[in-house]
Symmetry: C2
Subunit: 145 residues, 2 copies
């Protein structure tokens, strides 16, 4: 499952409406077009995007196309986003992020709020380090207030 493809697919108002409609009922393309005030071609193109993202499976039944929502993909996406949301800030790893060795001992993780933050990294040494475009990834700590 290509998460980006799924996100792009549902981050369009019209396609989200289509998903919502198909989650509730079974509609033929023309009925969708009518509900959405769009041409059938436009709807067909949207359906293709949703199909390509794996969100729909289509099957011809008699004269009519029959689309089914693949709810698993939505469940997976929700889980994926939830995982992202629950991600904790890592401990500072200066060597990986490009801190100067002289600054490393001051690096701390800053979680939420500003309580744990100590002065470091953006001190005078850093500011004088170059022309500004060689600015390295720093260790992400900043001045306490």
């Amino acid at each position: 499952m290509d998460r980006m493809l799924v996100l792009k697919a549902i981050s369009d108002e019209t396609r989200m409406k289509i998903m919502s409609l198909l989650l509730h009922h079974n509609y033929c393309v023309r009925a969708l077009a009518r509900k959405l005030n769009l041409s059938e071609g436009a709807v067909s193109q949207h359906l293709k995007v949703l199909r390509d993202a794996g969100l729909l499976t289509g099957e011809k039944k008699g004269y009519f196309m029959h689309y089914d929502v693949n709810r698993e993909v939505l469940h997976a996406l929700a889980a994926d986003i939830e995982t992202l949301a629950s991600m904790e800030r890592e401990l500072c790893t200066p060597e990986e992020s490009g801190c100067h060795s002289s600054e490393q001992e001051y690096c701390h993780t800053q979680k939420h709020g500003n309580e744990e933050v100590r002065e470091s990294c953006h001190g005078a040494d850093f500011a004088k380090g170059g022309n500004g475009h060689e600015h390295p990834g720093h260790c992400h700590c900043h001045k306490s207030e």
Copy 2:
């Protein structure tokens, strides 16, 4: 929270990378630009999109901008999508969806698979109903195989 705005914000590869980076660490704009191989302006624009969606809050700390991910918005989005994914197909409501009264008695909900589907709605009466462009929203049942 505007769900659509949030979805559009994170359905871009670069912005998703920014989110991921900021969820792990605290980066200044220039460090992000360097990591992503982009101009600072481009990064700033992406940050604005994420801010406008409510995904980030920015605060100036000394020389540097300090961005925090609003994890609540991500949690809410995940829950939202999960709700969507768990949506059950409603029972057929022909009067609402435009079925002809003669067809209503045959309408059924089709959940997953095709087992519960009966012939209805798309029968001969329906096909002869008009020039095709007056095609009403129908009750979404279709022929069994």
